[in-house]
Structures are given as C-alpha cells and as structure tokens.
C-alpha cells in the first residue's frame, strides 16, 4: 500500500544575513536569505520524489530540513504521520535510524580518519545495535550489498584509498546499514564520473525494491531526474513552481520556467535541432525576492497580476500542479 511516508507543509527556512556589529547597532530589522519559502509536498512510501532546480533554488536546504539536519523556520514535517518538526534529543536520534541522507561530495562526506569498517559500522555503534564481532559481519554484508566486492578488501581502507565511486558506495552502505525507511539523496551522482553514475543510480533503485526505501532525490540534472524519479517538483527561488508525475511533466511542462529549463538541457544527439526558449536575466538574490510571482521579471508572458500576486499551486492534471497565473 502506498501511504504518505513524508509530508511537508508550509515549510520555510530563512537564514539570517550576517551583519556587521555596526549595522546591528543601527538597524533593527534583519534580512534573510529565504532559501525555502513555503513549500509543501508529500512523498508516498516506496516512491522516488525529486526536487529539481538550478543552484540556489533551495532544493538542498529543503532536503536537509526534511531530515532535520537544519531546523525549519516554520512549517510542519510529518514522518509516518508523526509530526517530527520539533523532535529533540533521544527521540530525534531514534528518528535518525529511519531517515538517512547521502551527500553530493563523496570526498567530503566520509571522515578521512575513519576506516571503511568504522565509518560504515559507526551508525550501529551509535544506536547500540551490535555487540562485539557482529559489527564487522554486518559491515561486510552491507558492503557486499553496495557492490564493494570482495568486502574484505575494503573494510580496512581509508577513504583516500578509494575512488570517488567507491566512496559513494561506502556512504551508501553507511546510510542503509540501519535499514532506514526514507532517504534523502542530495545530488548523489553529480560528482561521479559519467561512466559510473548509472551504477550508483541502479544501486539506489535496487534498494528501493529490496529494502522498501523511499527517496527524496535532489538534483539539478533533469535528465537524471527523469531517469530515476516517480514524481518531480521543480523549484525556483525557494518555491515549487511545478510538480507532478514525471511523464506528464516532461511531456507537457506548463510553467514557463520549466519549459525554459527543459529546452536548455543538451541532448546527446547532433542530428536533432531543438528550439530553445530564451530566458531574460538571471536568478535574482534570495534575499531580495521579487514581489508577486517570483519568476515574473524573467517571464515572457508576464502580466500586471504576476508582479502583484503570488500564484498558488493549482492542480492541472492528475497530481500535476503548477503555480502560474497563466494557468486557469
């Protein structure tokens, strides 16, 4: 049965802008980087849900807030129906067993001073799930699972002795050793050699089947997103502008931004002539977000309404939502 494993409502994450001593003295009001600005989505169990968008759109922040690595400014996060927004201490630690995250940079996400066996086995120790020699056994098992075979060859290596792909496998192993239910994958393949990307992706897909994992996948690469996900949400400046199942979304993108984004993606086919949708200007700063529709300064179809009123997500097809005044 597909139930909602993660649900996010009105999620906001603002980072206060660092101010100098003097400015703090003279100004009361703080300015914020509105990294995530009122985002809502839900992920059903076993689903792969992708947050996609350009750098700085807030997708990574959103991912981190969902797994409570960052504190949300406001909004609610539900996990298996339970409100986890305010969980602290031991309860939060227990939650971590069920929610995991893997990171973009395999070179930075492993402690350089920890052997593979310790890195992968550490979650077990933290949650006191193993005794004595059990740890190594379990580590070997899980290494085998992520395709580091034979695992004995790897357990005693340090991260710097591994290649990027191998490290990402180790990171993957570390996050599945606790048998979590939900995983946030933050651009897990963008720093891996092209020829190896699909192995990691395939591994992740296999865990979905094997372990019943649900993914929140974060990527800027829509081609990868299309390949892996069930549902995709396109973010622009901290907000979801379009969201839906991948087929309708890619076939019939509704939001002008989604359209432009898709048209800009290179296609490995020299024989195909494509029409590109040009976008004016660049992404504005997340401190100073345009009024109304935040995309309107760059939008070719903008009307007066766009600069005044913020469009809400409207369902235009089954599970296909768009936030644009053009859509009635």
């Amino acid at each position: 049965m597909l139930s909602e494993i993660v649900k996010v409502e009105h999620l906001k994450k603002y980072f206060p802008v660092q101010k100098s001593f003097l400015e703090q003295l003279f100004t009361r009001e703080l300015s914020y980087v509105k990294a995530v600005d009122d985002v809502a989505f839900s992920i059903r169990s076993g689903e792969i849900f992708t947050l996609a968008g350009e750098s700085g759109c807030g997708k990574t922040t959103a991912g981190r807030v969902v797994v409570r690595l960052l504190e949300p400014t406001s909004g609610k996060i539900y996990f298996n129906g339970e409100d986890i927004t305010k969980l602290r201490g031991e309860k939060l630690r227990l939650l971590r067993r069920k929610m995991q995250m893997i990171f973009q940079d395999p070179y930075a996400s492993l402690n350089p001073r920890m052997k593979v066996v310790d890195a992968v086995g550490h979650p077990l120790e933290i949650h006191e799930l193993v005794k004595g020699g059990e740890k190594k056994k379990m580590v070997l098992e899980v290494l085998e699972k992520v395709g580091l075979t034979p695992p004995e060859q790897f357990v005693n290596l340090y991260p710097h002795q591994l290649s990027g792909g191998q490290r990402q496998r180790v990171a993957l192993a570390r996050s599945i050793i606790l048998k979590p239910e939900f995983m946030v994958a933050d651009e897990p393949v963008s720093m891996i050699d092209v020829s190896l990307r699909s192995t990691i992706i395939d591994l992740m897909l296999s865990f979905r089947k094997e372990l019943g994992l649900t993914y929140l996948f974060i990527t800027h690469d829509l081609a990868v997103a299309k390949y892996i996900s069930d549902k995709i949400a396109i973010m622009y400046l901290g907000k979801i502008v379009e969201m839906g199942h991948k087929e309708p979304l890619f076939r019939n993108p509704m939001h002008p931004y989604t359209q432009a984004l898709l048209s800009a993606i290179p296609v490995p086919n020299p024989e195909r002539e494509r029409k590109r949708i040009e976008l004016a200007g660049e992404v504005p700063s997340a401190i100073d977000i345009p009024t109304g529709c935040r995309f309107h300064p760059r939008c070719a179809y903008r009307t007066d309404k766009c600069s005044k009123e913020e469009p809400q997500l409207i369902e235009v097809g089954k599970g296909h939502f768009v936030a644009c005044h053009l859509i009635k």
Binding site: S109, L110, N111, P112, H122
Partner: protein
C-alpha cells in the same frame, strides 16, 4: 625535511640523554682546565671563563632547553587544545568570550608577556616553561578553533549528525582526529619558538641558576668574552640552539607542507 629535522632533534635528545656517560668532565665544575682556553685536543670545544669544559657543557646543556620547551609545549597543548575544541564546538557566548581573551593575549608581543611573567615567577625550568606557555596557548587555541569551525561545516560531520551521533561522539571521533595534523604542526613550530623564547629569556637574565649547564646561559655569558676573542664560548651553544630550533622548524615546516593540500601539486 621532516626526516632531517627528526634526525637533528633526536640526535640532540640522545646526546643530552647520554651526556652523563660521554661527557669528559663535570659540566659545572670550574677550573677543570685553564680559563678561556681555545679548542685544543684536551678540550675540543675549549673552556669557559671559569675554566669549565665547554664540550661537557654542550653535551649536558640541551637538557634545559629540551625540558623547558617540552614542558611549555605540554602546558600549551593541555590548555590550548581542549579550550579551542570546546570553545569552537560549543560556540555562543562562551566561544566569543574565550576568543576575545585569547585574541587580546595574542595581540601582545609574546616575548614581552613571557618576560613579565617570568620576572614575576622567578627562575627555574617550570617557571620559564609556564611563562612561555602563556604566550603560545593562543596559537593552539586559534588553530584548533579555526580548524574545528571549518571541519564543523564539512559534510562528514553533517553526515555523522545524520546517523544520529551524539555531540561528543562527533567532536572526538569526527572533528578532533582531523584537527590533529594541524595541532602537530603547531606543536613542532611551538617547540622551535619555545627554544628561541627560552634562549631570549636567558639572554634577558631570566634563565636557570648558574650551576645548571644551559646553552642559553653559555651563549649569553659568552657574549661578554667575545670581544676578548673567546669565540668558542658563544659559537658552540649558539650553533646548538640554532640546530635544535632548526630541527623543530624543519619538522614543522615539512609537516605543514605535507599536510597543506593547497601546496600539493
């Protein structure tokens, strides 16, 4: 470089350690030979203005420098490192207060504080070490703090939080081991600085008692006889101090080069 430095330092340490067995004379004993005798077969490094055997003094004399520097480095280490770790990891008001105090100390010319404190505490190895330690605690604190602050932001620390590690587990298993290389570099450089500061304190007149052979003291007292041509009283201890400081500097510089990813081409 590290190897050369280690060779120099360990040679000097060994030399000092086995001095009682290889030194031809009692280093403090006066009038074992003529006064201010230039190097000769009998006294290969000459004699001092009190007729002490320079060679024996050189062999013995490193122990004060080594003791002072080792002790001060130890004190610095024991205070600076934990303070830096906690201050930066805990953050907040505590961190701000610590940083402010430490930065204020750091702004002082080190030798001035060392001299002032040493003058108050009086002579002796421990007092010298303490006054030197005060000067160098800030460097540990600052290095540890800046390292922790940058490591704290690294993904693997976030990953550790993600797997539910407690704060102290993160601090000791994820953050601290990665600070160690920088601490090692600071420590070795600190050794060299401590040696030079100790020599400086002795030069000012704040060293150890006269009956204890010490390079710094010989170098200082030899100054008065240099114009009389007694170059050996100042040259040998001077060279020894330079060698010792150089040894530590080489280790430190070599290590920092090895550990500085920016310089690895």
């Amino acid at each position: 470089m590290v190897i050369l430095g280690t060779i120099i330092v360990s040679a000097l340490v060994i030399m000092t350690a086995i001095a009682p067995w290889i030194a031809p004379h009692d280093p403090a004993k006066t009038r074992v030979g003529p006064i201010r005798e230039p190097p000769s077969p009998q006294f290969p490094m000459g004699t001092t203005h009190l007729g002490q055997d320079m060679l024996s003094r050189i062999l013995y004399g490193g122990s004060i420098m080594l003791q002072v520097s080792a002790l001060s480095v130890l004190v610095c280490f024991l205070i600076g490192v934990p303070l830096g770790l906690f201050s930066s990891y805990v953050g907040g008001v505590f961190d701000r207060a610590c940083s402010l105090v430490i930065d204020a100390v750091y702004a002082f010319p080190g030798l001035v504080i060392a001299i002032a404190i040493s003058a108050m505490l009086g002579r002796g190895v421990v007092n010298m070490a303490l006054s030197i330690a005060v000067v160098y605690i800030p460097s540990y604190f600052r290095v540890v703090r800046s390292q922790v602050l940058s490591i704290k932001e690294l993904t693997y620390v976030e990953a550790a939080r993600g797997i539910g590690a407690k704060w102290y587990t993160i601090l000791f298993r994820y953050v601290f081991p990665n600070v160690i290389p920088s601490i090692v570099v600071v420590t070795t450089i600190n050794f060299a600085d401590a040696v030079l500061t100790a020599a400086g304190l002795t030069f000012i007149g704040l060293g150890v008692e006269i009956h204890i052979p010490d390079w710094g003291r010989d170098l200082t007292s030899g100054w008065a006889y240099l114009s009389s041509g007694a170059w050996w009283i100042i040259t040998f201890p001077g060279v020894m101090i330079i060698l010792l400081a150089l040894g530590f500097t080489l280790i430190g510089e070599g290590l920092s080069e090895l550990l500085n990813p920016k310089l690895q081409r």
